[in-house]
Amino acid sequence: MNKKPVWYIALFIIVVLIQVLFMNNMQFSKFVNPYFYVLFILLMPVSTPRYAMLLLGFVLGLCIDVFSNTPGIHTSATVFMAFLRPVVVNPSTIDDADVILPVSIVHFGFWWFVKYAGILILLHHLFLFFIEMFTFDHFFTTLSRSFLSAIFTFVFVVISQFLMFRK
């Protein structure tokens, strides 16, 4: 069903809080830190104008940066992800009735969502971890950190789908 702007504002605040209060403190191992907040970018309706996506990505990343003292790192990665989203999902391939809905497993199907979220989360995490290191030294360590964290983020995103959208 269609959601009001206030729903998206609430979603924004909730994902930021979940990220900075819980996810940032989650230490499965020194390698893994899930970045659950990308959920906000993933859920925005496909019809959202591209400039709005970029600006939202910028603001979201900046919020996370302020809380975790990493100026610019999350901002650049989230803008990058917001920029790539229309490349990953072509709006013209989506049903007209669905483009204004928040993206969800329920409406778009499980495997479609897995592919969509998987690709975007991985791209975001790769960008984020390499920007954080700011070097290609320790290439494989950084690569495995990105993959591992991406897996955890992905699991959380899928779980949240089942909690948020019930049939």
Binding site: L17, V20, L21, N24, N25, Q27, K30, V32, N33, R50, Y51, L54, L55, G57, F58, G61, L62, D65, V66, F67, S68, N69, T70, P71, G72, I73, T75, S76, V79, F80, F83, I131, E132, M133, F134, T141
Partner: protein, 262 residues
């Protein structure tokens, strides 16, 4: 659209690259009012779950202090007077850690005290186990601390046995290990040897515990050896810390400035 993307990316990359210039911009870090108060509220809730551990730590520290006190009482008066004078040079303010991380490349802490309580940038932060970090940002009620576990900082450290000193830098991944560099390779180093603050900077007093030597490495042909140090502070369990400041800091700074200006 691509243009907007480039503009936003440029802004954020500028933020990363020119980090040091933005470091003093108070709004962009976790000591600002919003982030600080959210962390503070959250912490006051979850603190209950770690009360037992905090209690045990305080009891242990208490016992340590009592031992030290007995030691002081039994040494001769002159020496203990000297000790007290040395301690007098530093004032300390107790603060609570309300946010903390150990698994990033650049780790920071947020404390629940700020300029209102007398905290300002460049003050040292220690806890009962050892060195914690240095204050970089303050707002009225909160402050941000650069942790030892941060690649952007190195700390002047001294080997307790041989008195050689050099910069100590975090290893980058393991929150328990740091590397002490620039120790000449002819110096004999023992395993478990204590590594303490040198006292050459204005941030920390002398002889604050940093950690113990675990192993050394000497590259072929290098004049220096690298020493792996097991940090004594458990950064994953930080709860209460002391923010310290040298009282005569301004005086010393002025004196040193007159020399460099000549």
């Amino acid at each position: 659209m691509f243009f907007l993307f480039l503009v936003l990316e440029t802004i954020s990359l500028t933020l990363i690259v020119r980090y040091n210039n933005f470091q003093r911009v108070n709004v962009l870090n976790s000591s600002n009012v919003l982030a600080g108060s959210i962390y503070n509220r959250y912490n006051s809730v979850i603190e209950y779950f770690s009360l037992k551990k905090i209690n045990e730590k305080l009891a242990a520290e208490n016992a340590n202090l009592r031992n030290e006190l007995l030691g002081i009482l039994h040494t001769d008066l002159e020496e203990s007077a000297q000790k007290m004078i040395n301690n007098e040079l530093f004032t300390s303010i107790s603060a609570k850690v309300i946010n903390n991380s150990v698994n990033k490349q650049y780790n920071y802490l947020t404390l629940n005290k700020g300029s209102k309580h007398g905290i300002h940038p460049d003050m040292g932060v220690i806890c009962s186990q050892g060195v914690v970090g240095v204050v970089i940002n303050v707002s009225a009620n909160y402050s941000t601390v650069l942790s030892v576990l941060n690649g952007r900082w190195s700390l002047n450290a001294r080997l307790n046995g041989s008195n050689h000193f050099g910069p100590l830098k975090w290893e980058g991944q393991n929150p328990y290990i740091a590397i002490l560099e620039e120790i000449p390779y002819h110096v004999n180093i023992f395993e478990n040897e204590e590594v303490v603050t040198s006292g050459y900077s204005n941030i920390f007093p002398e002889n604050i515990m940093i950690g113990r030597v675990v192993r050394t490495e000497h590259e072929q042909g290098a004049a220096f050896q690298n020493i792996w140090v097991q940090l004594s502070t458990d950064f994953q369990q930080l709860s209460y810390v002391e923010v310290i400041e040298k009282k005569s800091k301004a005086e010393q700074f002025e004196l040193e400035n007159t020399i460099s200006n000549e």
